[in-house]
């Protein structure tokens, strides 16, 4: 297993610029005038995602293989159903997977439906975690699309009496390159099912399945910068700015990717500042409801400055690294580094609640 590709310096530069790192000293001095302790913290992370080569996890004792599978059914009317083993519970597979098909064949996005989470229909899947739906699940879809494309081109070449190698797919049609001869996507699909005029020996229909087993993990990486202001009288920490710059490889839908980062960053800030389970001496959980367990709320957080760079991942056909965990990985160290910087200490326990921070400030005075 090797770190494959990434522009780590690009993330660092982007984060420092977005955070105006150079202007920090001035901001710290201004905060001091208001009686606040201002600190800045950075974290550079790299993680292993896109789980995972089955042989590799097998050698580590896993009981399953971590491939994904997909089936692409082009119906006679030209609509396309994609059955995926990856499941969506808010990650937007219905959108991004459909975008992939749209980009590939130029068919309207509304004509693509994504079927997931139904074990009566979908053969198998290993789950949505470890940022594997894009890197592994969509790679399986991409491989099935390759097979569909190959057969579709054969059918179109036959219908257009052209060479298969001269067929290109553009704007929802299969065209003979360099000419105006073409057959619309839905007509080719209908021809596959009427089977009145197919190349000799070809099976009717247009439906393909693929399994994809990754050859490597993927390695998203990035740089996060957090700036805090602490009220030394109360120990309350305010996040005054938060910057995330990630290299996620190729991205299908930037809006969804940013949403994943936002949620992860909020969770990481929660972990660093607020969220903690407490037990009493007898082992009774004291933080068993939202009355006692502090989830971050909107007024605990700022809006985030998020950007990405896109070094394609060489390990999968789509060049995707994944983005699901990054926010929650990069943010806790950045927050804690900002707090320790503000107080002038080297360590503080999470969650750095107001009482913990207040005690740490007091300790520096003795």
């Amino acid at each position: 297993m090797n770190y494959d590709a990434g522009d780590y310096a690009a993330s660092l530069d982007a984060a420092m610029a977005a955070a105006d790192y150079a202007g920090f000293a001035e901001r710290k001095a201004a905060a001091a005038k208001k009686g606040k302790l201002r600190g800045i913290g950075m974290s550079n992370y790299i993680e292993a995602c896109g789980l995972a080569p089955s042989a590799a996890v097998g050698s580590l004792g896993a009981g399953v293989g971590l491939w994904e599978s997909a089936e692409v059914r082009v119906n006679a009317a030209g609509t396309i159903e994609v059955l995926t083993g990856s499941h969506s519970h808010g990650q937007g597979h219905e959108t991004t997977f459909a975008q992939l098909v749209n980009q590939r064949f130029g068919v309207p996005i509304d004509s693509v439906s994504i079927v997931h989470g139904d074990t009566d229909k979908v053969q198998m899947g290993m789950g949505t975690y470890g940022s594997r739906s894009g890197a592994v699940g969509m790679s399986a879809v991409a491989k099935a699309l390759d097979k569909v494309e190959a057969k579709a081109k054969k059918i179109a070449a036959h219908l257009l009496e052209a060479d298969e190698g001269d067929i290109v797919i553009e704007d929802g049609a299969l065209k003979v390159t360099g000419t105006d001869r073409q057959v619309p996507w839905f007509q080719m699909a209908l021809a596959a099912y009427t089977a009145h005029n197919l190349p000799g020996g070809m099976e009717p229909g247009l439906k393909e399945t693929s399994f994809y087993d990754p050859s490597n993990f993927t390695f998203p990486a990035g740089c996060y910068v957090c700036e805090v202001e602490i009220d030394p009288e109360t120990g309350v920490t305010e996040i005054v700015q938060f910057v995330a710059a990630d290299d996620f490889g190729n991205i299908i839908n930037p809006m969804i990717v940013e949403g994943q980062v936002h949620g992860g960053v909020a969770q990481g800030i929660g972990q660093a500042l607020l969220e903690g389970t407490r037990y009493d001496a007898s082992g009774q959980l004291l933080t068993a409801s939202y009355m006692d367990y502090t989830m971050p709320r909107a007024d605990d957080l700022p809006s985030f400055k998020v950007s990405t760079s896109n070094t394609p991942c060489p390990g999968n056909p789509l060049g995707i690294k994944g983005c699901g965990e990054a926010g929650a990985i990069g943010s806790p160290p950045a927050v804690i580094n900002a707090i320790t910087d503000a107080i002038g200490i080297t360590d503080i326990a999470m969650p750095a609640s107001p009482s913990t921070v207040w005690a740490a400030i007091r300790a520096t005075k003795h």
Binding site: H89, G90, Q91, G92, M255, I256, E258, G259, H262, G263, G264, V265, A266, Q267, S289, Y290, M291, M295, R297, A298, D299, L301, S303, F304, G327
Partner: protein, 163 residues
């Protein structure tokens, strides 16, 4: 047991429920309006927010009998046929939801917030007033964006109506 009658999403409805039945359970179980969610039933998460007589209320924190005689709007009553309410449209446009669990409560809270602030909203106000609604997915970033955008559209709509 008590008889309960109220107006929900413009329709007169009635039913019988135990006195201890929470309004949210009455809506979900007796009326089948499962768009209103239960995230905690301890008044913390805001997934159950609906409008009772024009005000945002956590429906897990009110007994069904207490609501008898009142006029209720739930998330199911917000859209105008196939046309989304401007707040729903803004959540869609700005990707203000991921898993969608918090969304009905967020949208009901947000429409109430816009109604209470005819002068307009800023980010700090939106964040402060979202205090009663928890989201685990979005980090609130796009929810705040959606509410600010919808607040603009809704006030423009009002101005048009007045003109």
């Amino acid at each position: 047991m008590s008889d309960i009658s109220l107006t929900v999403n413009g329709k007169r409805v009635s039913g019988t429920a135990e006195d201890r039945t929470l309004l949210v359970h009455f809506l979900r179980e007796n009326l089948g309006l499962t768009g209103t969610h239960v995230g905690c039933d301890t008044s913390q998460c805001g997934a159950c927010v609906i409008h009772v007589d024009g005000k945002a209320v956590k429906s897990c924190t009110m007994l069904a009998v207490q609501a008898s005689g009142s006029t209720i709007v739930t998330i199911e009553g917000l859209a105008d046929g196939a046309d989304l309410h401007p707040m729903q449209a803004a959540f869609k446009e700005h990707h203000g939801l991921q898993c969608g669990f918090c969304t009905p409560g967020m949208i009901m809270t947000a429409t109430d917030m816009v109604n209470r602030h005819p002068e307009g909203l800023d980010e700090a106000t939106v964040r402060a007033e979202l205090e009663g609604n928890i989201c685990r997915c979005t980090g609130y970033h796009n929810i705040v964006k959606a509410i600010l955008a919808a607040s603009e559209t809704m006030s423009k709509g009002k101005a048009r109506q007045a003109a």
